[in-house]
Subunit: 148 residues, 2 copies
């Protein structure tokens, strides 16, 4: 059984293998951690998770890897209104989700909505400009906070 995350990991490794990049433990660990996630992680969370897993990686290397992956479109930087940015794998088929942040507890929920995607494509069509990426962030009250 190969999860979508494992698919992304091998896809990413294959892509990087043929790019003149040397193999490195630091990069491998960051990529495998990102691939194991179902939602975004911040640089700090990555540093902490890797440390806990016994695969400590220098902060500079984490940021360098993230920058490199963003530049190649393999991950996406996501800003959720917090102090630090988050990063998540981008599926090669373009499939993705967006986020809703609870303004009370800060909890983040992912959602996937084809009709919203269609609406955004339509907007891009209406504006006569080339749109190649978009962010959507909803803010509101999550279920847990609503029941209080």
């Amino acid at each position: 059984m190969s999860s979508p995350g494992e698919h992304w990991i091998s896809y990413t490794n294959d892509l990087l293998a043929g790019s003149g990049l040397r193999k490195s433990a630091a990069r491998t660990h960051v990529i495998e951690l990102l691939g194991a996630q179902h939602c975004a992680l911040s640089a700090q969370e990555i540093e902490h998770h890797l440390g806990t897993d016994g695969h400590r990686v220098g902060r500079a290397s984490i940021y360098r890897t993230l920058e490199m992956l963003v530049a190649r479109g393999l991950i996406k930087r996501i800003d959720m209104g917090r102090a630090e940015a988050s990063f998540e794998a981008t599926m090669p088929d373009g499939h993705h989700h967006h986020h809703m942040v609870c303004s009370q507890c800060g909890n983040v929920a992912a959602f996937d909505d084809p009709q919203l995607e269609a609406a955004i494509d339509a907007v891009a069509e209406r504006l006569s400009a080339t749109v190649n990426d978009h962010d959507v962030l909803l803010r509101g009250i999550c279920g847990t906070c609503a029941a209080s």
Copy 2:
């Protein structure tokens, strides 16, 4: 002739007048600058504009004013992927626009799309959570950059 910005300024001043806040030059200048804008400004841009206009205001007061206005829903904090956040007036009738950033030159264009708003309302309906705000950011190539 009263522009929408002037309307926002008086609306804001009226609202603040009946809130136990003292009148202050610093706050007044920030509010008038924001009201004169048709799109978002960063704290740094505000500091610079006010300095140029001969109305220098301390950085701390600028941030305090922005925080206060955000807390009362009079302005909105907008993150456009840059290092600093931007802020723009929120019209009392809820009317607003979103932004498209050129990934080449960084230029920002505002757009207003009722159909997109309807689509977002529909998403909020589908998720069974209370959604009370949203951000949308498009990234792409602007007209100027496309012609190069």
